[in-house]
Amino acid sequence: MSTVKLTVNGRAVSADVEDRTLLVHLLRDHLNLTGTHVGCDTSQCGACTVHLDGRAVKSCTMLAAQAAGSSVTTIEGIAKGDELHPMQAAFRDNHGLQCGFCTPGMIMASIDIVHRHGGKLDETTVRHELEGNICRCTGYHNIVKAVLDAAGHMKVAQAAE
């Protein structure tokens, strides 16, 4: 057992966990942040995607202990109160989700895509960049639309800040 200290969604947290505990299980089982999902056991599906120090990572593919001292953002931490993150709003407005299970990981990965590419996104790039996130419901059509839509809004929001 180790005590793991890290920042999650802006709050300092501490948990006593077995060293073999994965970050995703720390989030779900110890911090009750169940928005981060587990969809596979081979690091392929991306349902568990969170941001670690600002970058998208698969929380099922790292130990909680590896995240000690880092800052983690989950799907629960991106809206400002009642105001949705532009990516969340874009997924809703473009019907970019159906069963909702892949959605948190998809949104976290998509925010990361926009951060890295800024306004230089096109459909081909978005499809390639979504390689690590599997959705079984939407055929990706509306997810791609949502990411491109949000990229526009995020650019505007950044410019306004």
Binding site: S2, E18, D19, R20, L22, D41, T42, S43, Q44, G46, T49, L52, R55, A56, V57, K58, C60, T61, M62, L63, A65, Q66, A68, A109, D112, I113, R116, E129, E131, G132, N133
Partner: protein, 266 residues
């Protein structure tokens, strides 16, 4: 995952010392292979020693005719490094096509080479560019480093600290991704050194892991162009065969990917 004990050393020396103390320790770098394997209970190290936060192992250095990538540098950093992009664009291109974005944020060159998965991308670049693998003990030439499937010249407890790539005159990488896993079903890295030598390495193809492709090297040495490969045939013997790629298909891919890599190299 079985029980294990996690360590986070702050230096290479401390990491080596910790390794010596564990009865079945393993180094953990980006963890994009080791963690999945541990989750499936196919590996059960007593201790995992995290190298990813050791400052001396992170960074890219481009100076004159050498690009040095420190071992715990994530693929994303390699792909984004503007000096590296200028010096060896094919290497940046390769790094930008490993796994997926989240994997590239964590996975490292040192981890990839130490694991030596027969379908990993980096070994092809290391071999084709004739890179040198630097460890805490010595320097190992690429030609001496890869020893077959998941096997390398590394000794027990030895840590890769950096990889030094000589800047080539021309280089290109073309990968045909495995449809499911997105590893290389076959990937080919072609390089023309500044002295005029040609080295070609294929990954994802051979039953013995990354390999040089002599027939293609000879053809390209005579004529550095895709059309030079028109009459080259690659034997299927010794190549991997599975539901996604039979040996004869992979043999074809070696040639086709080599053609495309040469075209990309210009």
């Amino acid at each position: 995952m079985y029980q294990t004990t996690y360590h986070r050393p702050s230096s290479v020396d401390e990491a080596v010392a910790l390794f010596g103390k564990g009865n079945d320790a393993k180094y953990l770098s980006g963890g994009q292979t080791l963690i999945p394997v541990m989750k499936q209970r196919l590996a059960s190290p007593s201790d995992v020693i995290d190298l990813a936060r050791i400052k001396e192992l992170i960074g890219v250095d481009v100076s004159g005719d050498t690009v040095t990538i420190k071992a715990a540098t994530p693929h994303y950093e390699v792909a984004q490094n503007s000096a590296l992009q200028k010096a060896i664009p094919a290497l940046a291109h390769l790094a930008s096509h490993i796994g997926d974005p989240a994997v590239r944020h964590r996975g490292t060159i040192g981890g990839s080479l130490a694991n030596n998965d027969p379908s990993a991308d980096y070994p092809s670049a290391v071999l084709a560019l004739g890179a040198t693998i630097k460890t805490n003990k010595r320097s190992i030439a690429a030609d001496d480093f890869f020893k077959g499937l998941f096997a390398t010249a590394l000794e027990d407890g030895e840590i890769i600290t950096a990889v030094a790539f000589p800047v080539p005159a021309k280089a290109g990488y073309a990968k045909f991704p495995h449809p499911a896993s997105r590893f290389a079903l076959t990937g080919v890295f072609v390089a023309k050194t500044r002295s005029g030598d040609v080295r070609v390495a294929a990954t994802g193809a051979s039953q013995n892991g990354v390999m040089r492709v002599a027939a293609i090297e000879a053809a390209l040495k005579a004529n550095w162009s895709a059309s030079a490969l028109a009459n080259v045939t690659i034997a299927a013997s010794g190549l991997m065969s599975d539901i996604h790629g039979s040996a004869d298909y992979r043999a074809n891919l070696i040639k086709v990917m080599a053609e495309r890599a040469v075209t990309a190299a210009g």
